[in-house]
């Protein structure tokens, strides 16, 4: 709250100050950035730096926690499982999303609005709510088991909630919009004439797709994949409720911090997650720049 004072003064200052100086449309914009930047530094950058510092604290030499992470088979397994799950979820959402984005990108009018609504409604539905729905569907006496029992497909209810299968199904469902939206953005920018040109030159639809459409849609594929992969790595709600014995790293961090009160360990795990996410975020940024400047790919150094 103490931040509010100097910010307000800056806002008042910038227009009047600009009047007396040589005129330039860009003047004063740097000052506008100050309040959001201060907020981010105070409650985003400093907390994250604190996490990294905390990970070196605690008894023993600074790298004790990291040694524990990479030598204890249980934590190492959680990390590996997290990466494996994130990869599986990313691949499955990509396979499911690509045809959807393709079809929707060619839709027009009301059909387009309807399909966009179908994609955006789940996007804005609470993850807690969507995970709850999956519990209802997947639990031992849940919708799916009851239905399959009624139809005689199975003899006994399947255990879908303790082995990570249910968790992955739910995560794929929750992540789908994050894949469809970037794909859709890229595909809507692809010039249909290029495909027609390929057809005129004698390429069959498969060839048109493989050598024209697919390469042009790759920026969307990479942007969506990185986004889904990052989000899956840090996923907490669904693994906590549906994971059963299989734990993901975010759940482990929460357990270490609030149940075992092992703050250095939680910080070290969070730092690992932070570093991986930052690296992937840089990749994402690059992919997005590619996606946006689709026509000037050659100019991007």
């Amino acid at each position: 709250m103490s931040l509010a004072m100097p910010e307000r003064r800056l806002e008042k200052l910038s227009p009047s100050a600009a009047r007396h100086r040589p005129w330039s449309p860009e003047r004063g914009h740097a000052l506008l950035l100050l309040p959001p930047l201060l907020l981010l530094v105070a409650f985003f950058v400093i907390p994250l730096a604190d996490v990294v510092l905390q990970s070196f604290a605690g008894p023993g030499h600074p790298l004790t926690q990291y040694e524990r992470i990479f030598t204890q088979s249980s934590t190492l397994q959680v990390l590996l499982y997290t990466f494996q799950t994130a990869a599986t979820v990313t691949l499955c959402t990509l396979v499911l999303s690509y045809p959807v984005a393709f079809v929707v990108s060619r839709a027009k009018g009301n059909l387009l609005h309807l399909s966009l609504a179908l994609i955006l409604i789940p996007f804005w539905t609470s993850t807690v709510i969507r995970t709850y729905a999956w519990i209802v569907i997947l639990q031992r006496r849940g919708v799916l088991n009851e239905m399959m029992l009624d139809w005689g497909w199975i003899e006994r209810p399947l255990k879908l909630m303790s082995n990570g299968v249910g968790m992955q199904i739910a995560m794929i469902h929750i992540m789908l919009p994050f894949m469809v939206i970037p794909l859709l953005n890229t595909m809507r920018g692809i010039d249909g004439n290029l495909l027609r040109a390929a057809a005129v030159l004698g390429a069959n639809p498969l060839r048109q797709f493989l050598s024209v459409y697919l390469p042009l849609s790759l920026p969307g594929v990479s942007a969506g994949s990185i986004l889904v992969f990052i989000s899956s790595l840090g996923f907490y709600i669904t693994p906590a409720l549906l994971g059963g014995q299989k734990t993901m790293v975010a759940v482990l961090i929460e357990q270490q911090a609030s149940r075992l009160l092992d703050w250095p360990m939680a910080s070290a795990l969070a730092t690992v997650l932070l570093v991986v996410t930052c690296l992937l975020f840089l990749l994402y940024e690059r992919a997005m720049r590619f996606a946006r400047g689709g026509k000037t790919v050659g100019e991007v150094s």
């Binding site: 506008l32 950035l33 907020l39 981010l40 409650f43 996490v51 399909s115 807690v128 729905a133 996410t277």
Partner: protein
């Protein structure tokens, strides 16, 4: 060799697949709706009978009432702050020519991308030191930081949708910076700002992980209450509460969509 009929069948196959995926996207969530009208205590499907008892229990529940009030008390100011800060950042980074613009833009979006658990672990000790752990101020600041990128993205998109020559024209005609913003920029980006505000509110209303770390039972929000109920007692009251929340979220989305559409029309109308 190329049989056009084969390609047509294939294209219908892709269409059918896409329709199935769209159904998969929406259907699971709707399972909750019949459940909320169930006459049974257990999660049984299909529900054996119809009753409104869970909605009644939801309406009577003091816990839910307090949680909804908390969510609004936290969500509205958080969305407001996020809107002001996000708009400032978008103005500075889209209209200004700052050095390191790309890096700063990445920093503005970063809170949205970073796993919230990491920020929660980092914010907790700081909020303890500041003495605002468990208070409205603590969670409000956290949600402001997390929701700011949403406003930044929508407002930056709005700013990029028209040329800065409008502002140049106003300034050439003698408008100062504030008047240029008030009478030219703000009307142009208003739909983006409003959509950003709605997104920010919806985000805060749904956010769970910071709420787990930064709120206490007196300030807990709806997602945290739902979370606690999911972990300890699973009654169809959750289903009733969920359906109510779903309706609220969807109506907010509808409002946002209407604003976005009128906004998309206005600048193009003004440009022609």
């Amino acid at each position: 060799m190329t049989d056009p009929r084969l390609w047509r069948i294939l294209s219908y196959g892709i269409l059918a697949f896409a329709v199935l995926v769209l159904i998969y996207l929406v259907l699971p969530t709707l399972v909750i709706v019949p459940l909320s009208f169930s006459s049974e205590t257990f999660l049984s499907f299909p529900p054996p009978g119809f009753s409104l008892q869970w909605y009644d229990a939801f309406a009577q529940s003091l816990d839910y009432r307090i949680a909804i009030l908390n969510s609004v008390k936290i969500g509205l100011p958080a969305a407001l702050f996020a809107t002001v800060f996000g708009t400032l950042a978008a103005l500075a980074l889209v209209r200004g020519h700052l050095p390191g613009r790309r890096l700063l833009s990445a920093l503005m979006i970063a809170p949205l991308i970073l796993p919230q658990i990491v920020l929660a672990i980092g914010l907790f000790p700081i909020m303890v030191k500041l003495g605002i752990i468990g208070s409205y101020a603590g969670i409000l600041l956290g949600h402001t930081v997390l929701a700011m990128p949403l406003v930044f993205i929508t407002v930056a998109a709005a700013l990029k949708s028209y040329a800065p020559t409008y502002e140049l024209a106003a300034m050439t005609l003698g408008a100062n910076r504030w008047n240029t913003f008030r009478f030219v920029t703000l009307p142009m980006i208003k739909p983006g700002v409003i959509v950003g505000f709605i997104f920010a509110f919806a985000f805060s209303f749904d956010e769970l992980i910071l709420a787990i770390f930064l709120t206490n039972p007196a300030t807990r929000t709806v997602p945290r209450l739902l979370w606690e109920h999911l972990n300890y007692q699973m009654t169809p009251v959750i289903a009733a509460a969920t359906v109510v929340l779903l309706v609220i979220t969807l109506s907010m989305l509808a409002i946002a969509a209407v604003y976005a559409r009128t906004g998309a029309r206005k600048p193009s109308g003004a440009a022609s």
